[in-house]
Symmetry: C2
Subunit: 696 residues, 2 copies
Amino acid sequence: MLDKLFNPDVVAVIGASRTEGKVGHAVLKNLLEGSARKIIPVNPKVTEILGLKCYADILDVPEKVDLAVIVIPAASVPLTLEKCGQAGISYVIVISAGFKEASLEGARLEREIIAIAEKYGIRMVGPNCLGIIDTSSSLNASFAASMAHAGNIAMMSQSGAICTVTLDWADRIGVGFSKFISLGNKADLAENDFLELLKTDDSTAVIAAYLEGVKDGPRFMDVAREVTRRKPVIVVKSGRTAVGSRAVSSHTGTLAGSDAAYNAAFRQSGVIRANSLEEMLDYSRAFSTYPLPHGKKVAILTNAGGLGILTADACYSTGLAITSFEDVTIAKLRERLPEAAGLYNPVDLLGDASAQLYEYALEILLDDPNVDGIIAIVSPQAMTDVPAIAQVLVDTIQKSEKPILCNLAGGTRITTGEKLLNRHGIPNYPSAERAVASMKALCDYSSIKIKEHTNSVVMAVQREVAQKIINDAIASGRRTLGLESIGLLKAYGIPVVQSRMAGSLSEAIQVCEEIGYPVVMKIISPDISHKTDVGGIKLNLRNAEDVERAYFTMMSDVKHYMPNAQITGVQVQQMITGGKEVIIGMDRDPQFGPLLMFGLGGTYVEFLKDVSFAIAPINDKEAQHMISSIKTYPLIAGVRGETPSDIKAITDTLLKVSQLVMDFPQLMEFEINPLMVMPEGKGCLAMDIRMTLRKE
Amino acid sequence: MLDKLFNPDVVAVIGASRTEGKVGHAVLKNLLEGSARKIIPVNPKVTEILGLKCYADILDVPEKVDLAVIVIPAASVPLTLEKCGQAGISYVIVISAGFKEASLEGARLEREIIAIAEKYGIRMVGPNCLGIIDTSSSLNASFAASMAHAGNIAMMSQSGAICTVTLDWADRIGVGFSKFISLGNKADLAENDFLELLKTDDSTAVIAAYLEGVKDGPRFMDVAREVTRRKPVIVVKSGRTAVGSRAVSSHTGTLAGSDAAYNAAFRQSGVIRANSLEEMLDYSRAFSTYPLPHGKKVAILTNAGGLGILTADACYSTGLAITSFEDVTIAKLRERLPEAAGLYNPVDLLGDASAQLYEYALEILLDDPNVDGIIAIVSPQAMTDVPAIAQVLVDTIQKSEKPILCNLAGGTRITTGEKLLNRHGIPNYPSAERAVASMKALCDYSSIKIKEHTNSVVMAVQREVAQKIINDAIASGRRTLGLESIGLLKAYGIPVVQSRMAGSLSEAIQVCEEIGYPVVMKIISPDISHKTDVGGIKLNLRNAEDVERAYFTMMSDVKHYMPNAQITGVQVQQMITGGKEVIIGMDRDPQFGPLLMFGLGGTYVEFLKDVSFAIAPINDKEAQHMISSIKTYPLIAGVRGETPSDIKAITDTLLKVSQLVMDFPQLMEFEINPLMVMPEGKGCLAMDIRMTLRKE
């Protein structure tokens, strides 16, 4: 797949130029500096460039071209692409800018070239990109300032400038890449296609990406789930915020999803989210270099006590365990370390530690089964031979089956040691905190990789009944539905509170007598979403008299707060006590679809934002994760000997809601609030629901 | 103060050595490389070192010595220090290690030298330190590998290795210092003394420190409060995770950990806490270079859209405002920027932006009153002249009254530009995130500096009454007190719930009749801290029959859960409804003393850790800050038109508790839990208290 894109035999550069400094020149030159392959410049104004015969038109080229790189003004791209199609070219990279990122006219041009590419089955990179680089096939089909060094990191970026910055950064410290892909506007080929390719690319051990959005959320999750079983995927996703998102839409016109959906999608598909380019590159280098740790028990080795403490702080903050050593480890350390040395974790070799002492301590620590990985810190004290210690680190790392992340701390006096590490492909983390964060990423991926993938359970439901309820609502022209549509839950086997509607006071009293006191009474109105705010909920009504009083107060309050609200009646429910209120919701994310939410009910949800998210469909593992990952989980799990709430019933309801929102894409928003969860074994009851249907 | 320590006329090096590589040699050499001052080696084994006459004994030196640097084995230090005293030397730096950091014998030696220094009035730096450097007096009384560059950052560190690392880092990028102080074991002179000195040191604009603890918490706060009004103080405090050996039984103690007191103390005294050395140095360089911004409205200027979005994300995450420009700004930008450029924030000059365009945009942005500061990003695109843009940045920064923080992003191709910035004392932040964090630090200090300092209010209290209650408790040998000592609150004017003790059921019923139903009944036992856990609280008892049933159930439950608990009776209280439960606590921190805690009551405090801390004594501003800084504040401030709780009453109670715990240092732990807060204007009521007295 995409083989001839990354390793073409014949490449045409359409818009090749003789003028240095022009993109059409840079691309040609970069291509010529790669492996011996046929490179063909196309430009009607000249007959020869850089010693190559130049053709006036791509249709004039006699050879079968595998890849065409297009570097001409946007307005001319459609015609040229049409010709590429006629010439039977399978792959095209459109470097030219001036498409949807630039203007409405550009967006129209982009739609045009998409249609042409589809017509001819051309696979296209870009437009508005830097090009691609493949170090294993020695292809540089880009206008990057220089060729990437070879390495096992594949990088893709939705921003050409970030490609440039990353290549320049990598050049300074000698980091190598397998493939380097500038995604541009992703008119055709996008992250999903390249992820799929990189999954089986032997030269790639780790995949890094800068993304401003994903083109197809559900497919991204499917592909990423597969890829992350084999190799780590680290993504910086920008546009986290309202403000950031605005910048995105003005930048490449990508519709940025909400951040919660991205976080959930990444977590569910095993993608590691980095918070900055620095983190992405730090993590990538760790994965590029080290074996995965088997656990998160870390040993800290240092020649500076203060730096050891700071490292321990960082481990603690990130959730790594500062391991305890076996007795034999401590005994062996005691044999050779000076008297004042720290033998426990952090191991402090003291300021005059030699390279030999580092070597000795590293070997002992690696032998300890309680050590999953080591953070090695070297500070340039008076007697410190930094290059010699760096050499010990290189030698030990190269034969170790556990990761040893290094922090040579300082400036001038560590330069030589740092370069020595880099020359062997080993990163030097400039601070203990960054070494620790990268160790954490290794550990995280280690548990992602071994995570069992279970499939969704399909629950027995009455889909037709639900379908009818939704059809009826749509037919009636209503978009927002409340308790009156509770039949939807029943159809999906979700237990609901006994509840009836009443159009008048007398009807309400009659219903109450049937349900049995005490009851709860709620206003029904298509215009009122937060019933409590307008006095639209009355609790614990114990008899007809209570109901009458409540009815009149409610009507008068609601009229007062929302004089124009249309009131269709009241809902009478059995009053449930002894349960805990939780909330289950769904919002349809533009990128990933149904985003499920779970949290504790009541005012706390709102102010503490203590909720968890997942993209549907979910399986039971995922549902349990949603429940247990809120901070207030102990309150439902049972604190201080309290009976736990019925967590199985919540899990079950989450799975049913997941299925419901998958079955009916018409459901745009959906919320069971509250779901009353009874003690363990006693189930749960949906007390109220609210949903919005898609505008047809 | 300490003048002759940092600018001595005559310095003796006791333990000076001829052997290169020895600390006693390095110190002497470093001293000689400084200003022309008299340097006198002391060593009984030689008569001349580096061309200087060497004395056998400090008492043989004919001149009046201002400063003695001691570099001899620890065991010999006491005798030598004694001689320094006899010679009338005022300042001593003990570089030698082997004191309390090393062994019990070392700790004894350290106590000995403290006593000697006190006897002679010698002020001492160290022991176990690297020494000190003063670039304005050109003094290098340390064994650092090289002299620090001159600059306006004063740095002190409790770790010698971190001094070395910082100097070496600074050497590579050319960062300068005014004073550099290795604190060592702080046997005599400590951070407080140097803070006081640096407060009025004209060569110092910013103070950075690495601390593992403070010597005198309350004095630190007093001094820091004064210093931070004049110049910023940035501290990395390590040992976040250290778990105290002291058993903690109160909520306050459990929730606080070791770090909460430091956080509170730093915040209250205006100290900026950095989370890593990297942050400390990043912030220090920002303060060293830039004027303070007047607000937190930031403009982002970039030639790379993607980096602009990432910067906007970082601004949003840290709480900086991405400003909106005035119309005239946008109009002016439109005049010269290319059509596809981003004119709104972030301003995207596009990839081919020239130095002239940067200059133009910077000037326009600086002119906008809605811009308090700028983050300027430069990525090395194909046409980018990085050095020319760096020169524009230098020129603009040098004349600007607003901070412009730079991120030249990349590696090889930004090196020249980066060096140009550094040569002019301007930091290049290697990532947008670090530039943004430093901008945030500038903004934070800007508001710290203008913060009004108000004094504590002294409330009218009956101190003698409280004293008697405490004395009685101490006399009775009891350390843990509960509701029975509620008189303490009354003495300090804190309203308490009507409450009485009863030793038997019949007495309980009698008390209930007096208080009036409904009531709450609680077990009283010195052995039971969490009454709910053992069925020791019964609510809403409406008549004698309820009380009787509750009494028997309670006794049987308590016996069941804690068969050995000594039960002294029950507490009967009026049942209060309609209020909100909050908790006010105090735990005595070993460094800073009384650490006050505030939070919402109930189970939520425990699982959400949504509490705030402050060191007593506090004033009303501080009390209000404690209340409003918890996440659940909206729940007491009143949500959705709910009546707010009586926040004035909480403030008042916090101030009274502050005064109480200051007045009685015997109170080790103290907790009002719950304090029932009624709606605005209706006050609050302490429902239960619990306190622990100091073991005599």
